[in-house]
């Protein structure tokens, strides 16, 4: 149980001369909802992609539940990318079946009931859906897995405030005590009350990692206020 869900040691990733992540070390525990926050271009997406094995580190290592990114880790990680990758000729229902084929931890009942409450038409083709609705479908698929680590890259960016509340509720309802949810977002005020902990990164380095309530206790500030202070332009 005490084993870290996500562990980075001296993790660096360079794209040509530019370091997207530089010597990042962090260990994220199980059972938490953690915000991955930072200004644009700070390395949030790079970190998430490294954890998924979509990128390989230039230096250092990253482990998910003790595994290097690979077949074992991918079975444990449920990843919501920035952009949807679902083929636009598929219907929503076909996407669900696609996920069920792919992942043994996929919970089809959960997916269908969530899509119903979000009023997503199951027989519509992906290309007929609005941007926000596509994002909802993708998120439903991702949250319907019983994964150890959920990596959500900007999960609420494109959806309306009411759906945002529903999605945050969905995250609360579905995550379990031995899994961890890492959420990258700019909409800090919207997510902060569901976060246990948050990490700030900037220029590929860790700026701070703390618990939400300890920030309020020690500084009397919300994460949103603190973010604006730390990253003032």
């Amino acid at each position: 149980m005490s084993e870290a869900i996500l562990e980075c040691k001296g993790l660096s990733k360079c794209f040509g001369p530019n370091a997207a992540l530089h010597d990042l070390s962090i260990s994220l525990p199980a059972g938490k909802i953690i915000g991955l926050l930072g200004p644009n271009g700070s390395g949030k997406t790079t970190l998430i992609k490294l954890a998924c094995g979509l990128l390989t580190p230039t230096e250092g290592e990253i482990r998910v539940c003790g595994y290097k990114p690979g077949i074992e880790s991918k079975a444990l990680v449920s990843y919501l990318p920035e952009r949807t990758y679902l083929p636009d000729w598929m219907t929503v229902l076909e996407c669900i079946e696609f996920f069920q084929d792919f992942y043994s931890d996929f919970d089809i009942d959960r997916a269908t009931s969530m899509l119903q409450s979000l009023q997503v038409p199951a027989n519509a083709r992906m290309k007929t859906l609005s941007k926000g609705t596509k994002e909802k479908v993708q998120l439903v698929l991702v949250m319907s897995r019983h994964a150890k680590l959920y990596l959500l890259d900007e999960p609420i960016g494109g959806v309306d405030p009411a759906a945002r509340d529903y999605i945050l509720g969905t995250i609360l309802k579905n995550y379990c005590e031995d899994s961890t949810v890492l959420i990258s977002t700019h909409l800090i005020a919207d997510v902060e009350k569901i976060l246990d902990e948050f990490m700030f990164i900037q220029n590929g380095q860790l700026v701070s990692y703390a618990s939400t309530d300890s920030l309020r206790e020690d500084l009397g500030k919300s994460i949103d206020q603190y973010f604006r202070e730390v990253f003032r332009c």
């Binding site: 909802i33 609360l172 009350k193 246990d196 309530d213 009397g220 919300s222």
Partner: protein
């Protein structure tokens, strides 16, 4: 409906405050079963760990009790609830006096205003800030 939270104070403190309010105003009645941690988390739209922490605070002051295997209940001891009510009342009173003082009222003037308001003579409304 998600609960509203202010920025300055830890969320778990605000969650426990709201649950205490619920107990004092009768939303959660004496001896009644409380929603589970997860239900509270979804009602309030906060992290379950935050709810857990809020509930253990309330448990440590005796306002709620855990019954094995069945969940958490509001205490059956009226004295505990009365104590919480008194505490909350005193806090509101002190805060009210402070905001009145900030407006330039002495305690006596404030009390006078309150009496006026009660007898319906006062034309000025009470300030409703916190």
């Amino acid at each position: 409906m998600a609960w509203e939270f202010s920025n300055e104070r830890p969320i778990y403190v605000q969650v426990s405050d709201q649950i205490v309010s619920g107990i004092l105003t009768g939303t959660f009645k004496m001896g009644e079963k409380l929603p589970s941690v997860r239900e509270f988390a979804i009602i309030a739209a906060v992290n379950p760990n935050t709810v857990q922490r809020a509930l253990s605070e309330l448990e440590s002051v005796g306002l709620i009790e855990t019954q094995r295997n069945t969940g958490k209940y509001v205490t059956q001891e009226g004295s505990k609830i009365e104590m919480a009510r008194k505490e909350r009342g005193e806090l509101l009173a002190t805060e009210f006096l402070k905001s009145m003082a900030a407006l330039g009222y002495t305690s006596e003037q404030t009390i006078h205003l309150l009496e006026e308001a009660r007898s319906g003579e006062g034309s000025s409304d009470e300030r409703s800030d916190t």
